[in-house]
């Protein structure tokens, strides 16, 4: 998938079911037309920092799962908050984990929100769409 300057959301999610459900949730609120899906941390970093032309576009918001193969979510978060090109992109951690250290570390690394993925799909849709609406429509992006 070639990167597009029109990408609004970068979704970093290794679980295809969760990815599909997230996309559905976003679609229900008409937010899914410009979503890029990265299936692990390495793919996410490749998308954000990969070599080649046309890498100027940055997503308006990143939805980041924490437990990822290859490079885990916290590492992705650390790298993109340490880079001048990406550190202003709002990052919403979407994780199954409600463990205190995960939440604390995420915020310390600069996450803008931390959302525990509920089992209840309705609640999940609400959470995802709230975040999407907030960061995409209400928040004045620095870009």
């Amino acid at each position: 998938m070639p990167p597009s300057p029109l990408i609004d959301i970068l979704l970093v999610e290794d679980n295809p079911n969760d990815a599909e459900l997230t996309l559905r949730a976003l679609k229900e609120h008409n937010l899914a037309n410009t979503v890029h899906l990265a299936r692990d941390g390495a793919e996410a970093l490749e998308f954000l920092f990969g070599e080649g032309p046309g890498r100027t576009a940055v997503p308006k918001v990143i939805l980041l799962d924490l437990k990822l193969p290859k490079v885990d979510g916290l590492e992705v978060l650390r790298r993109l908050k340490a880079d001048d090109r990406t550190k202003l992109i709002p990052v919403v951690v979407l994780s199954s984990s409600r463990e205190e250290p995960d939440i604390a570390t995420s915020y310390r690394l600069g996450a803008n929100s931390y959302i525990v993925k509920p089992v209840d799909f309705e609640a999940f849709v609400r959470a995802v769409s709230d975040v999407g609406l907030y960061w995409l429509l209400l928040n004045e992006s620095p870009h």
């Binding site: 079911n17 437990k67 309705e122």
Partner: protein, 559 residues
């Protein structure tokens, strides 16, 4: 007055010494008095002798001048002349000897008589020389000389008798004193000997007791499983018990041969030196830990209790081999870390499939509703609610396991304010404004605010849940004091429970009601129990079916 045995013994010795001193003094005085008594006897004899001699001299004087008259030979005057010299000399000698006033007066009389007698003698001799033998004889025949002589004899006899009486009086007094002195010496000596005997017995007993105590200590010293030692301030062992050999493998001689720091793990040496410095400065070492090298090169962890004796420059210490505990701690930390990783994994991975089940069942419900019959839609709903319930179970279980790992952060807690806040939260979540909730004044306590919040939340939430079918629901949060301890309670007038199953209330996943009666996972009260236990308290419940339930708990001070 409670005196130590030591002071009693010292006192007995001091008393015995004082008595013996007094006895010595009395004996000395007695000896002096005895010699005084002998002196008095000699004195009396001397006085009587001098008096006898004086009387005899006077007799000689009379014989002298009488013989002179009879013979007219001057050689007969020799005794008279001698008496004329010796008489006054004897009177002077007596004057020096006699101190008794009555005797002195008698001596004065005697002296006058002696002078008169000698003067009479002189006058007889003078008459004989100047006139005639018959005139002198006439003078003698006046019997003046005889009278004087008789008087001298009488006074001399009186003085002798008086002197004897005086001697008797003095001897009687001395005898009485001597008798008292003897008694004092006998009694004093007896008391002193008794005291010394008692003190001696006490000392012997005390020594025996000390010896026994020492033997006892020695036995314990040798028996102790802990490592006992005495070390000098400059860092050497001077006494060690056999446990050292058993624990470290070195002989006691090996251990005494080098500074003990040589046996301490290099990483622990600095801390050990610091701790030793504190001991030398006079404070005790409590709970200090370091590692000691064994003969085989391995190290043992030792936990120390030590106390300095500064005036002797020594440290008394006992150490416990806690190596196994330390190893267990490491193992426990590893196990905890593994458990944490496991919980994380459960938290993350177990919920994802449930989300998919719920999410796709919902998608199906929305997308295929027209083609699925109502029964199929109901089944899809069952799938969804089961997935959600399992999600809840996982969440509760994780909350429960998190609680055991979380450290307890104690702070002052206003339990009443916390209870009121919790009631508001539960009301909002449950939407039951009609329930009457009474929060009594609660004493301030110490505990982990977040944990206590969770415990109160679960109890109040429970009370709300089980009063759901009660039209006049009432919940009361209060306290009562029992044996100086505050017992907190949350009481409701809801469904209650059968006391026969009270023991099951606080078990994880234990429920006394069916899910279709009252929903729940059976973790809430287990959580409450764990929180209360973490605070060192107790939790229990009383209730009856349809008559409400009361949950009690205590929160002993947490520092």
């Amino acid at each position: 007055m409670a005196l130590s045995l030591r002071s009693k013994i010292l006192l007995a010795f001091a008393a015995a010494l004082a008595i013996l001193g007094a006895v010595g003094l009395v004996s000395y005085r007695n000896a002096v008095e005895t010699s005084d008594s002998a002196a008095w006897v000699a004195h009396t004899l001397e006085v009587r002798h001098d008096i006898d001699e004086l009387v005899s001299e006077m007799k000689d004087a009379e014989t002298g001048y009488r013989g002179y008259i009879l013979t007219n030979r001057p050689s007969f005057l020799v005794p008279f002349d001698s008496a004329a010299r010796r008489g006054p000399a004897l009177v002077r000698a007596l004057r020096d000897l006699i101190q008794n006033p009555a005797q002195q007066r008698r001596l004065d009389t005697l002296a006058l008589l002696v002078n008169a007698k000698l003067a009479f003698g002189d006058s007889v001799v003078a008459v004989l020389r100047r006139r005639s033998q018959s005139a002198a004889t006439d003078l003698v025949l006046t019997e003046r000389g005889k009278v004087l002589m008789d008087q001298i004899r009488g006074v001399g006899r009186d003085m002798g008798v008086a002197e004897l009486r005086l001697l008797a009086e003095r001897t009687a007094i001395l005898d009485r004193t001597a008798s008292r002195t003897r008694h004092a010496i006998i009694i004093g000596s007896a008391v002193a000997i008794l005291l010394l005997l008692l003190a001696g017995i006490s000392v012997t007993r005390e020594l025996a007791a000390r010896q026994r105590a020492e033997q006892e200590l020695d036995r314990f010293f040798s028996l102790s499983l802990d490592l006992l030692c005495i070390a000098t301030f400059d860092g050497r062992f001077i006494r060690l018990n056999p446990a050292w050999e058993k624990t470290l493998g070195y002989t006691l001689a090996d251990l005494k041969a080098a500074p003990f720091l040589d046996f301490v793990h290099p990483e622990d040496r600095e801390r050990t030196v610091t701790e030793m410095g504190r001991l030398v400065a006079g404070s005790n070492a409590v709970g200090f830990e370091n590692r000691y090298r064994c003969k085989d090169g391995s190290y043992r962890w030792l936990l120390w209790m030590a106390t300095p004796v500064p005036d002797r420059g020594l440290v008394y210490a006992t150490a416990r081999d806690i190596t196994e505990r330390k190893e267990a701690e490491v193992a426990l930390r590893q196990a905890n870390a593994e458990l944490e990783a496991f919980s994380y994994s459960v938290s993350h991975d177990l919920r994802a499939p449930l989300r998919a089940i719920d999410g796709f069942a919902r998608t199906l419900t929305l997308d295929a509703a027209p083609t699925l019959g109502p029964e199929n839609l109901r089944l899809l709903e069952v799938i969804r609610s089961s997935a959600k319930q399992m999600g809840q179970l996982i969440d509760d279980l994780l909350a429960f396991s998190r609680l055991s790992r979380k450290s307890l952060d104690a702070a002052d807690v206003d339990l009443a304010a916390l209870a009121r806040a919790v009631v508001e939260e539960v009301r909002k979540a449950g939407g039951r404004p009609g329930v009457e909730v009474v929060v009594a004044p609660l004493p301030p306590t110490r505990g982990d605010p977040a944990m206590l919040h969770q415990a109160l939340f679960n109890l109040v939430d429970n009370a709300m849940k089980f009063t759901r079918h009660q039209p006049a629901a009432r919940i009361e949060i209060g306290t009562r004091a029992e044996n100086g301890e505050s017992i907190y309670y949350v009481r409701d007038n809801g469904a209650g429970f059968d006391m026969r199953y009270a023991a099951k209330l606080f078990g994880v996943f234990q429920r006394l009601h069916r899910t279709d009666e009252f929903e729940g996972t059976g973790v809430g009260l287990a959580l409450v129990q764990r929180i209360v236990h973490r605070h060192g308290g107790r939790v229990w419940a009383e209730g009856a079916v349809d008559r409400g339930a009361t949950f009690y708990f205590t929160l002993p001070g947490v520092s």
